[in-house]
Symmetry: C3
Amino acid sequence: MRHLIDFTDLSEQEWQRLYRRFEEIAERPGDYRDALRGQTLASLFYEPSTRTRLSFEAAMLKLGGGVFGFSDPAASSVSKGETLKDTIIMISGYANVVTLRHPKEGAAMAAALYSSAPVVNAGDGGHNHPTQTLTDLVTIRRLRGSVGNLRIGVCGDLKYGRTVHSLLRALARFEGVSAVLVSAPELALPGYVKRSCKNLNLTEEPDLRAAAGGVDILYMTRVQRERFTDAAEYERLKLRYTLTPEILREAPKDLLILHPLPRAGEIPEAVDNDPRAAYFDQARYGLTARMALLLELCSLPPFTVKEPEPGGGTACGNPRCITQTEPYLPASGGGVCRYCEHPLVTPPGV
Amino acid sequence: MRHLIDFTDLSEQEWQRLYRRFEEIAERPGDYRDALRGQTLASLFYEPSTRTRLSFEAAMLKLGGGVFGFSDPAASSVSKGETLKDTIIMISGYANVVTLRHPKEGAAMAAALYSSAPVVNAGDGGHNHPTQTLTDLVTIRRLRGSVGNLRIGVCGDLKYGRTVHSLLRALARFEGVSAVLVSAPELALPGYVKRSCKNLNLTEEPDLRAAAGGVDILYMTRVQRERFTDAAEYERLKLRYTLTPEILREAPKDLLILHPLPRAGEIPEAVDNDPRAAYFDQARYGLTARMALLLELCSLPPFTVKEPEPGGGTACGNPRCITQTEPYLPASGGGVCRYCEHPLVTPPGV
Amino acid sequence: MRHLIDFTDLSEQEWQRLYRRFEEIAERPGDYRDALRGQTLASLFYEPSTRTRLSFEAAMLKLGGGVFGFSDPAASSVSKGETLKDTIIMISGYANVVTLRHPKEGAAMAAALYSSAPVVNAGDGGHNHPTQTLTDLVTIRRLRGSVGNLRIGVCGDLKYGRTVHSLLRALARFEGVSAVLVSAPELALPGYVKRSCKNLNLTEEPDLRAAAGGVDILYMTRVQRERFTDAAEYERLKLRYTLTPEILREAPKDLLILHPLPRAGEIPEAVDNDPRAAYFDQARYGLTARMALLLELCSLPPFTVKEPEPGGGTACGNPRCITQTEPYLPASGGGVCRYCEHPLVTPPGV
């Protein structure tokens, strides 16, 4: 791993080492307060994100490092007229590690082509968000002792919920994981995600009560308004599944309730005092996991960037792809866009 | 003191210890540059405030700590859809101390219910702003040797000026303080504030010149446009009282002129070079006072939050109260809202 | 040098010392990670500027110092109603050094009158931007061994391009520098700039290919849309000069291509892999140069501000001058505004 663009960039050994780091920091955080002294994190948020940004910045500060960057939507207009390439070349020359959040899919992958410092994808449009998956896995292992041989229920928006897609793909790398899919038919898990999780035992269970009764972990997610063109359909679906105290009365005593947060009503405040509610611990572990990641990335041997030949001409049909706004990017070739992973359009007659 | 929500949260001993700290830091600031190394301040500003925010952030940095957070109005929309409770639980898990500025009255009190780190109220609507009062008191004691046995003139907006209300209430805890109230009738000190300052000797003097002639300290405040619905009335009142060099010619040689700043004309620049003008020293002492406060709060024994049962149903009639937007908050009970301190509306027939 | 408002504030000895510092830091950056520990930079940006702001903030962090301030346009409205004087007096009391970016010409000079900490001008309207010139000179000396006896081509917007004006004035302080001016007639170097560069050997060459063939350094600049009232004229002129690979094929093998960045098409991405392209090194040296500057300024003996008598009444005719919005500023006198350097209007009959 030189950059963390997608969770699958982590090899098995890297995951193991990262988890050991996480445990060490969780045990003795004070030992790390000077670990990255004199080093800097460039925190580049082209769209707002309070939770992700602050967890990375706090992580760097707790390691003794410094943080600079921008956080407001205005910042995107600030660097307007400048290519992502030029911004990244400049800023990666100032920093030991870069976290990037960008509205365009594939932006982090594109940035990594030009960055002289490790790039962490803090969200590229609705595409990837690997440190959320990292947070989910360390939380599961920390609270259960291991990730394998697990029954997990995932509930809410399984269609657009990238957090769920990324988590399921990551779980597919472990043995003996079965996942129970709980969603409205309109928000069911897409086929292409199912196909990428062959190693998982997937079943569907429309009844949340039944699902909660038979799993070790219940992973709730919110329905995101921004995914819907039809406001009425959003209103109809958003609270289709609510994890009430009454449902939880019959659920296993050792169930773990997770949620990537923020929530939007699918877990009422009345549940927060339930000892099985682990989503606030999950948020706290997210900080420690990011500390472990920053430590790993800042200890990589320095690398020099082999500047790719400017290409352009990639025919990605995805209007949200970074190639739409950064035309100099090297072409993808192959059948899939190397940035946003959408199928490439082949011009007729070629 | 676990949190600083209102200046009266400080006990007599805590005030004494805090002042000693202040003096030590003022004498040897260099001794403290590593005092909070490895610790972090979460600076959460849901509405803009340059002076207060920067004085807290500079204070933390001068103690060797780190700062993260948000400062722009946009930030409130950033965390939109998330409750204050969820934001505070997450962020207080990342920080050793939290400073909160919020447009709603009672927000800091509400945040303190859920925070695993000490919360400092950096302004909750027009309600409280305890570190301004702390700044005023350390300045008075630093420049006069003591706070008691003092004649102070307070001039400007005594009706809406919360800084003045809070200062007078704090002064009422000392012996032998008499206050001369200088204001237009439309901006006179409200009766409920007078009643909460029984220990003060209050007199009214509409003539600034006469008042300035008979006091040890003259505390000027500005008239805030945002308090007026009628622009014409604001224009008529804003410069009703201006502290001119000509007035000061006849004032005592050892008078101290204070102002919480920013000013809006009530003290002309021509006064700045007068040796009695102490408002810029006051601003500088505000930084040292906040350093002392952060040191105290970060040295508190760690505490675990006893999550209150979500309540709701508090019938606070104040439209600017935090309970209007955070419905899960525990009910107040008693006659007064526990958050914004407004009288509670009792539903008819109860 | 107490403040850096204009590059000419640097004496010959100060330039030499600054460059030695720059070289030391470039050789052993790690030696400086605690150089400014416990010290703070106030980063005050009244208008957005990603590159300049981040390079200063990263520089301070790499020296072990802390950074606070504001960066968003909103910040100007935040401190609205407060004079620049009051803001600077307060904030310079919190910081060891202040970087100021402000839309009004002369703002940094005005701020320096009241600041108890060294002020660095990070851009005052279109007026001065001395650390860009510092960056240009250290880059030239670093890559060529010396600044004197140099043939430099400057291309693009020579009329409004303040970077070019400031660079040429600085180069005029060295021996044996000849400059080739490449621009459209509408964007030619103004006479008053030529007159201030007497020591330079200036020639005009409308053909970029010819110019590139005969110089040691080619300094490209972009045409800035915001300078044009007529959008059509901007479109016509913006890419009048483009440094193509084809032009570069015939240019000297040891040519150095510089650009202050950001660029807007005048240097195509295809040039970036050319070994003569030095503009990304230039950006990186800008960070080191600012580290050297901050070190020098923070090692100055403390100074106390002699508050100028508030004056006002300066009759500067420049609508973009800081005196237009800060009326209390001391009068200029003489023929030229002391803040924005525009000729003063003398009221008729005086």
